[in-house]
């Protein structure tokens, strides 16, 4: 349909432009693609390119980041994200390979502003014995400073912070209000609509007894609205770790200011099963109508991959998925005060949560886990680095150095996360029509986002009822996708005819990155017995590989030279485009579909450390991996 009308219009227009060569501008504006009006940009109702950003970054204003010696404040973090070179807290020049298009700066709200005062040895901090002890540790540097920082974090997560410090750096205190003001104003200084979007945000750091229930919050608004409130905290008596308290704050924010906000969780893998409950919440509540309604309203997005582990899937939950075993952290909760058991995993991983959402929707009519996918760094260095060859680590203590891989992220009597397991991940791509707060925020709300573990892989995913093989051939994939179907993050349109849903899928490698191995569709559904199911389909792949007897596409190979930390794009392919139709479609079963695009193997960051510092790596260290992108799902709901 589309193609035909384009040809007719061009036939009509071609004679009109003959002889117009002398006026290049007219000629140019006419355009060769005559499906467009005179102004080639007039009908841009759909996004042209993904906008890259980080939803989760800490500066020296955050309690833990500052305690670990991060002295870079929001201005440096913003300048870095925009592509400028900065000097890191450890004195190293650093720059991104390419600027980001947008970012949410999310300093911890609890004890916001305490860290810079600790670093400066302000009297308010030193007057408390614990404050003095931490200050002395901080000043001593090295291991002492690390110990002090860890003690601060332990006291925070176990809720044993000194009362006087808590009072001075919590809502109601001047220091808290002024820190918030400085965060808001810094974002405003760096917000440059059309070029770079600086979101005002924060992290609400709920971690009762070490169970990670963190949420980031991003505002659609500027300072006029953001400064009418101070952000909420979790430490009693000033705040509460129950997500309900956060929802109440969000409700109040929108009502009072007329603004808009969303929250998104991360690191379910460190929650010991509490991130995606189906029966009881950690705080003693029930997963009931109110819970599912609130969660669905406020959390349309999930940060699925970041430094502290990739949270898409786990081999225990998805034994048939040979790519599920990727950068998983499954030792215990955040501070390893409780070890992980297998029964906790289902409440922790995104794929399982999407499945649980179908079950809860069947029960309550609302799906609380209907989220879009995003990736973030969660760096505490003010530096949003997610590329393997440019990875500045989780905190200042593990910025590049010959010894950093020897520093465990955490180690205690119960267990350990060794330093080489930090994950150089990830970013969020947004399909938004403009690079502005409003356009990007709205894309988050409609879940038109996808996650990557760092590389800037292009990914389009449309679902509909009549995509055909011919649609693969078009040069205007997005036109077809948006016209005949819905984009990632949406519900399929009501079913037409008797066919199974079909999907238009395209993935493009990072322009400076590794080729693609394959593209997969992951389907989850609620079967007629009420059981949750999942299946991974290989839908497009490189190098003309044959599907083996198990129905799998064999591994793509590995070109990584571990001595030089290099690889070649001699395997894989730059682009994979396909139309896929669900061969196992059951019109009566609730289902979701999302896409996973997988790169050929490339070096992990530790190989670059080995090469640059000449160090030995632990024997069992994972040296190469296959980075990936996760699209937001498209959901199917049977007709009543």
């Amino acid at each position: 349909m589309f193609r035909k009308s384009a040809c007719i219009i061009s036939l009509v227009l071609v004679p009109a432009v003959v002889g117009a060569d002398a006026v290049p501008s007219e000629d140019a504006a006419e355009g060769l693609f005559s499906d467009q009006p005179y102004s080639p940009y007039a009908q841009r109702t759909f996004p042209e390119r993904p906008l890259w950003g980080d939803t989760h970054l800490h500066t020296g204003l955050s309690l833990d980041a500052g305690a670990f010696g991060n002295t870079l404040l929001p201005d440096e973090a913003w300048r870095f994200a925009k592509g400028e070179q900065v000097i890191s807290s450890t004195g190293q020049p650093v720059r991104l390979s390419r600027p980001l298009d947008w970012m949410v700066l999310t300093d911890h709200t609890d004890l916001m502003g305490f860290a810079p005062d600790l670093q400066a040895g302000k009297p308010g901090v030193l007057s408390d014995p614990k404050g003095l002890e931490w200050y002395e540790g901080y000043k001593a540097g090295g291991e002492e400073a690390g110990k002090a920082a860890f003690d601060i974090i332990t006291n925070f997560s176990q809720m044993t912070l000194p009362e006087i410090l808590l009072e001075s750096y919590s809502p109601g205190a001047d220091a808290f209000a002024f820190t918030w003001e400085s965060i808001v104003l810094a974002a405003e200084r760096h917000n440059d609509p059309g070029t770079f979007t600086a979101f005002i945000g924060f992290e609400w750091t709920s971690v009762p007894k070490g169970f990670n229930l963190h949420r980031n919050v991003m505002l659609r608004d500027g300072p006029i609205r953001a400064l009418q409130m101070v952000p909420p905290v979790t430490q009693p008596p000033y705040g509460d770790t129950d997500p309900k308290a956060l929802y109440a704050w969000l409700e109040e924010y929108q009502e009072k200011t007329g603004g808009r906000a969303v929250a998104f969780a991360h690191n379910g893998n460190l929650s010991n099963g509490w991130m995606f409950p189906t029966e009881d919440t950690y705080h003693g509540g029930k997963v009931d109508e109110d819970y599912v309604a609130d969660r669905a309203k406020w959390e349309p997005h999930y940060e699925v991959t970041q430094i502290k582990g990739d949270g898409e899937a786990h081999p225990f939950l998805s034994p048939d998925d040979e790519f599920a075993d990727y950068e998983n952290w499954d030792v215990g909760n955040l501070d390893i005060t409780e070890l992980k058991t297998d029964d906790m995993l289902a409440g922790e991983y995104a794929r399982e949560a999407l499945k649980r959402g179908l079950m809860l929707e069947e029960k309550f009519g609302v799906n609380p886990y209907k989220f879009g996918m995003g990736g973030a760094t969660d760096s505490h260095t003010s530096l949003a680095t997610a590329e393997e060859d440019n990875f500045f680590g989780k905190s200042v203590s593990v910025e590049p150095s010959a010894s950093r891989i020897k520093h465990p992220f955490i180690a205690n009597d119960l267990g350990e996360i060794p330093g080489d397991l930090l994950v150089a991940s990830g970013y969020t791509a947004v399909w938004a029509t403009e690079n502005t707060r409003a356009a990007i925020f709205d894309a988050f709300k409609r879940r038109e986002t996808y996650a990557t573990t760092g590389p800037r892989i292009g990914l389009r995913f449309f679902g509909g009822w009549d995509f055909s093989e011919a649609d693969v051939e078009t040069r205007f994939l997005a036109n077809v996708g948006y016209t005949k179907g819905v984009p990632m993050g949406s519900d399929l349109r009501p079913r037409e005819g008797e066919a199974a849903p079909s999907f238009l899928i395209a993935a493009l490698r990072d322009p400076v990155g590794a080729n693609l191995d394959r593209v997969q569709v992951i389907k989850g559904w609620l079967d007629s017995e009420g059981a949750l199911q999942e299946k991974v389909y290989d839908v497009a792949w490189s190098d003309n590989r044959e599907v083996d007897q198990n129905g799998k596409v064999p591994a793509v190979g590995n070109t990584v030279d571990v001595e030089t930390a290099s690889w070649t794009n001699t395997i894989g392919t730059a682009e994979l485009v396909t139309v896929w139709s669900d061969p196992d479609f059951d019109p009566n079963a609730r289902a979701f579909y999302y896409v996973r695009a997988i790169e050929i193997p490339t070096p992990r960051w530790i190989l670059y450390d080995k090469l640059r510092y000449g160090i030995e790596l632990p024997e069992d260290a994972v040296l190469t991996h296959q980075e990936r992108a996760y699209s937001s799902p498209i959901w199917y709901t049977p007709a009543e």
């Binding site: 390419r98 070029t195 389009r460 040069r475």
Partner: protein
């Protein structure tokens, strides 16, 4: 009198005045310690009382005030004795506080200088590239694959220049068929490094190529190019002022330190040799 407009000179004048002033108001007893006599006058007591009130939202009772005065005297005695014993030396806390106070003094002076527009104009010209807008390009492109043959490129170019229907030309691709006026850095983030260089040097309106991207070979028709320019000061006044302040206060802090350091002969091992 151009010379008086030099910020550095301002700085030294103000700095000198402040240091002289501090010298004058510093109590004699701090210089020649009279350990026999500790005086708390009414102003000191009023200050203690005011501090108490700020914290507890009520004035202190007589007993509380007495306790405050006693504590204050006790502190003074112990501080003086501690100094006699040299306990203040080598204490990292005290040293940090003292050096911080010196830094604050410098900072306060630096922020008190208000530059006029001439100073900012000079600063802007000296750092023009920092404020320059990026080169912006709008274009259409057709992707011909990773390694198209020469004949294929020629044919495609001829077709495009002849303005025939091209919807079948080139492969399917996720790359945008056209980009609106975009900064070169944005173009490079989509097409890969080097691509924008290829398209900023071609004739507007005419299909050209081949141009290499991170993916392969393209033919490009540039619609418009907007050259880089430095905006007038009035448009970016606040940003220039902010940067001027930042650089000036860093320069002044260093100048201040250098001046003070000149009063010392510094002996330290030479560490500038090859790194170990």
């Amino acid at each position: 009198m151009r010379v008086l407009k030099e910020p550095l000179l301002h700085f030294f004048l103000i700095g000198a005045a402040i240091f002289v002033w501090f010298h004058i108001i510093a109590p004699e007893s701090e210089n020649v310690e009279d350990i026999e006599k500790i005086t708390l006058d009414e102003d000191d007591v009023a200050l203690l009382s005011a501090r108490f009130e700020a914290q507890w939202k009520r004035p202190p009772s007589d007993a509380e005030l007495k306790a405050l005065v006693d504590a204050s005297i006790r502190e003074e005695v112990l501080v003086r004795e501690a100094r006699k014993l040299g306990l203040d030396r080598g204490d990292p806390l005290i040293r940090t506080r003292l050096s911080q106070k010196m830094d604050y003094l410098t900072e306060a002076i630096a922020t008190s200088i208000v530059p006029n527009d001439e100073d900012l104009e000079v600063f802007l010209q000296e750092n023009a590239e920092r404020y320059a807008t990026p080169v912006m390009v709008a274009f259409h492109q057709v992707f011909l694959g990773e390694k198209p043959g020469e004949a294929e490129i020629e044919n495609a170019l001829a077709t495009l220049r002849a303005k025939q229907d091209v919807s079948d030309l080139g492969g399917s691709t996720l790359l945008p068929a056209s980009m609106p006026l975009s900064a070169t850095r944005v173009i490079e983030s989509v097409f890969g490094g080097g691509f924008s260089k290829g398209i900023t040097e071609v004739e507007t309106g005419r299909w050209t190529g081949p141009i290499q991207s991170g993916y392969g070979i393209h033919l490009v028709q540039v619609v418009a190019i907007e050259p880089s320019q430095t905006p007038p000061l009035a448009e970016i006044h606040d940003a220039v002022l902010r940067d001027w302040r930042r650089e000036m206060s860093e320069a002044l802090a260093q100048a201040q330190y250098d001046t003070l350091a000149e009063n010392y002969e510094i002996v330290a091992p030479d560490l500038s040799g090859p790194a170990k």
